[in-house]
């Protein structure tokens, strides 16, 4: 792993805090043209004020324009790019090199983040909350467990990304080799499989409520449906099927 190089300029703590808070609003202007681009400019803006000439200087304007162009990444890992690009701008790195770096970093930050957060951490935390519900948890207990667990990972990941980017600058690529990013999805996914086995029957049993007369039918119908949906794989969107089936059932129950 590449060791961090010494920063030529250290940002005041309050600027780093401002950048972190803005990072939470990174996708405020998300659009189909620049994707996260304008958000990256928005987050970096407090730091760019420290460029020679300040907010009225040509360097500030050029950097803000450059950093507001097209960019894509997972929002939680975008802090790595924000930190690295900030450091590069403040160190006066050649704009052509900065552009190349932006292009190279976008893809990996998107795919790594999607696998780690959307396809692993989020479902895992949902399943843990469902498990707490199935075990008889109160509304505060279920919601509190989900929000605490999820956001410990969420806020730490964003903070780590920004810190790593600011300290490593353009050498940040090696940070993507972090074991949490590389192997995290596998371990979280394995844990999620166990929790799913535990959570689904418990949660569904509590939703059904007292009386288990229909339990056998529910289990058989659910298993058959899951097998069918698993076979359809990417070709079917489960929530759309749920919407259609539910609409038919509601119509049937109203008309009979």
């Amino acid at each position: 792993m590449t060791s961090p190089t010494a920063p030529t300029f250290s940002l005041p703590h309050r600027v780093k805090v401002a950048m972190y808070l803005r990072l939470l609003a990174l996708q405020g202007s998300w659009n189909y043209e620049t994707l996260l681009g304008t958000g990256i400019g928005f987050v970096m803006e407090p730091a760019l004020r420290y460029l020679p000439g300040g907010v009225d200087g040509p360097q500030y304007r050029a950097a803000l324009a450059r950093e507001s162009r097209y960019f894509n990444a997972h929002p939680y890992l975008a802090g790595i790019a924000v930190g690295a690009l900030t450091r590069a701008e403040l160190d006066g790195v050649d704009p052509v090199r900065i552009e190349r770096f932006r292009t190279a970093l976008a893809g990996p930050l998107g795919s790594v983040g999607d696998r780690l957060v959307w396809a692993s951490w989020l479902p895992f935390c949902s399943l843990v909350a469902l498990c707490v519900y199935g075990a008889g948890g109160s509304p505060v207990g279920v919601v509190g467990t989900f929000l605490l667990l999820y956001n410990v990972g969420h806020f730490l990941l964003r903070a780590w990304g920004l810190r790593t980017g600011l300290s490593r600058g353009l050498n940040v690529a090696s940070a993507l080799g972090n074991p949490v990013l590389r192997q995290g999805p596998h371990y979280i996914g394995s844990a999620a499989a166990v929790v799913a086995g535990l959570a689904l029957p418990l949660a569904l049993q509590r939703v059904v409520g007292p009386g288990r007369a229909l339990a056998g039918g529910i289990i058989v119908a659910a298993l058959l449906g899951i097998l069918l949906l698993a076979r359809l794989h990417e070709r079917a969107e489960g929530w759309r099927i749920a919407l259609g089936v539910l609409a038919i059932f509601v119509l049937y129950s109203v008309l009979t």
Binding site: G28, S29, T38, L64, P139, V142, L229, W239, S253
Partner: protein, 227 residues
């Protein structure tokens, strides 16, 4: 439901709808949270949690990858939670009807997010020269207006959802023809199928995933049998 009655729920929907993409993505917009909060607003958090659990199982199917289109669960969770919590306890049609309203809201709200992104792209086009010139004001204006519009979008979707579905769900519940147990069972089967299919889609590539799942299943079965 009047505009005044729907306003507090719409404000909650606005805040939670904003969380989906714009700020702060802390997942307070997940249906298990949103529906419970909406139920608490009505005075029945446990009812909100129940429909929130069903919606959460269905929401496992949607992963918000990049520019993909997906249903918006924040406002939908609020609408579903508020509608279900407002029904008298023990009504057989309350859960299916409220769930259907929530799913329709999620679909419409997802579409409204696509529209919003196009609107922001249009605004960007109009201010492109200023932003390319490094104008701080133009960039901040674009960003903050995007967030404000998202807040308004979610409020509007929640408000319209409540105004349309509140009398509709009440009417459906009043003339519901199916028994209570089968009604609940149909909802549970639908949620279980969607959740099971979604989890398979996400985790099927993990080694020994079926055995890990069966291990958890065995533990839960033992708990249910002993309980």
């Amino acid at each position: 439901m009047s505009l005044i009655e729907a306003l507090p729920i719409a404000l909650l929907g606005a805040l939670l709808g904003l969380d989906v993409v714009s700020f702060p993505q802390a997942m307070i917009s997940r249906p298990i949270v949103a529906a419970t909060l909406a139920g608490a607003f009505i005075g029945h958090p446990a009812a909100g949690l129940l429909i929130g659990v069903v919606l959460e199982l269905i929401a496992l199917d949607t992963l918000p990858f990049g520019a993909s289109r997906y249903p918006e669960w924040g406002s939908a969770g609020v609408v579903g939670g508020a509608l279900f919590a407002a029904q008298p306890p023990g009504m057989p049609g309350a859960l299916p009807a409220s769930l259907l309203a929530a799913l329709l809201t999620a679909s419409v709200s997802g579409w409204s997010m696509v529209v919003l992104r196009r609107v922001i792209a249009g605004r960007l086009e109009r201010t492109r020269d200023s932003i390319e010139g490094g104008s701080r004001d133009a960039l901040l204006s674009l960003h903050l207006s995007g967030m404000t519009l998202d807040l308004l979008r979610a409020a509007l979707v929640t408000m319209i959802g409540m105004i349309i579905f509140s009398p509709l769900v009440r009417a459906i519940v009043a003339i519901w023809g199916s028994e209570s147990a089968p009604s609940r069972a149909v909802v549970v089967v639908i949620a279980a199928i969607v959740a099971g299919g979604a989890l398979w889609k996400v985790f099927h590539s993990i080694r020994r995933v079926v055995w890990l799942f069966l291990g958890g299943l065995l533990a839960s079965t033992l708990l249910l049998v002993m309980g």
